[in-house]
Symmetry: C2
Subunit: 279 residues, 2 copies
């Protein structure tokens, strides 16, 4: 029987289901973990969410998401930091050791991406002590440059590692998400560096499928349906010493409509075919 113990269902992949439904589908299929989003945690409360996951015998691979640290001004900054502190508390409550950070895009009308990135760095510095108190790592997620303007000004693993460098590896890590980094000319080198530094917080898999859908945010595909090289990337992540969970996080309206059991069955098959052999 295929070993799915390192496979994790990110709840955004089955976005129309509750946390309990996601957990049930994951547990029945033999997955080892789930990676919930905050909306699914908050609708039952963090304590109850943690209980649901633990009672099913699953781990929590990560909590999505903190971040959005690019706003300008004292009040907006304070609100963003406060929300991230709450996210750290929720992560701790559900047993997630990693808080995935989608750092935010450019504020309306603002074109100074260098300054926006500095605000992210400042925000991370402010959050590190809280992360350490909570025992939760801030997992910086470089995003595909298609999202640089409106979602995440962190664009490469190298940049994320540079931003993490001033802080202990236990406090700030990086996410390797194939959808976001598959094109990076320095991917192998930077995965190796992230591993050597002990900073790989999460390995997330889904595919870059063309043509992009009109709603480019929700244009991701199952592994194998697009252009990502899961063989090489998985080997690089393995060779970097990563032994954690592999999360499947797919934003795709058509996939959501399939429902959690079908989604989990499909992603498990693709994982077994394309990822697991190279772990």
């Amino acid at each position: 029987m295929t070993d799915l113990s390192r496979l994790s269902l990110n709840t955004a992949t089955a976005k129309l289901q509750t946390l309990a439904e996601c957990v049930e589908a994951a547990a029945e299929a033999g997955l080892g973990a789930v990676g919930p989003w905050r909306d699914r945690v908050q609708e039952v409360g963090a304590a109850e969410a943690g209980r649901i996951i633990r009672d099913a015998g699953l781990r929590t691979s990560s909590l999505c998401r903190g971040g959005f640290l690019t706003a300008v001004g004292e009040q907006a900054t304070a609100e963003a930091l406060a929300d991230n502190r709450r996210a750290l508390e929720e992560a701790a409550a559900i047993g997630a050791g990693e808080l995935v950070m989608v750092v935010g895009g450019l504020p309306e009308g603002d074109r100074d991406i260098v300054a926006a990135r500095q605000r992210v760095a400042d925000g991370i510095a402010a959050l590190v002590p809280h992360a350490q108190d909570a025992g939760v790592r801030l997992a910086l997620e470089p995003m595909n440059p298609i999202f640089a303007a409106d979602r995440g000004v962190l664009s490469t693993l190298e940049q994320s590692l540079e931003m993490a460098a001033p802080f202990p590896a236990e406090a700030v890590g990086v996410v390797v998400d194939t959808y976001h980094v598959w094109w990076d000319p320095k991917l192998q080198e930077m995965i190796a560096r992230a591993g050597a530094e002990g900073r790989i917080s999460s390995y997330q898999v889904c595919d870059w499928e063309l043509p992009l859908k009109e709603d480019t945010l929700n244009s991701r595909g199952y592994m194998g349906d697009g252009h990502c090289d899961f063989t090489s990337t998985t080997q690089w992540v393995r060779d970097a010493g990563y032994t954690g969970d592999i999360e499947v996080e797919i934003f795709n309206v058509g996939i959501w409509e399939q429902g959690a059991p079908t989604i989990v069955a499909t992603m498990a098959q693709r994982y077994a075919d394309l990822v697991l052999p190279h772990l």
Copy 2:
């Protein structure tokens, strides 16, 4: 009067017009150059195309495009190299010192982007002697990663400079196109490096506008309509010692329908407002 002597109309910006119409619109507006695509050159022949441009008193800032070097197999490779040699001859005939190289994406069903990039490097090596004979530079264009799978596996200036490094700066340069590189965390550093190496072949400007259109290839905007920082980028290009033409290359169906005179007037105004003050 605004000095438009360094401004160049790339014919893809007025894609519905002939070369002669583009040249007329550019000359009447006081631009210093045009950057034709090969289709517009070939429909009149390279010798005639060169005459049209020279007779209007314009320079040829570049020829678009060579490249597409990622095909697999002896025959496909030989055909690609032969086509690039023809492009070099056309460039020389129209007085273009730079041949913009869109290097090609992944072949159908092929996910090995590392190998595809190596084929590009091999192709460039094979073309360098021909470029030197023609007195035309191969201008490597890193493309926004949104196009990595289907159009260009060169994704960053750093990667392009590494690929250019084995060859003389007179033979292989790089293109700085804001649409493609605006998000790059190492943009300032790599523009400076490209300048220090004497490898800036072209500075192209157009904007990253959201939401992307359904046809993502033709989703670019006039400078000022999107998220690119023309102030910083232009200053970095200036500080890198670039004194060549600034090409406007916009793929956008709605803009094409405006016709060359309106397009040239609009791009000239945006250039005057957003780019020229920082040159």
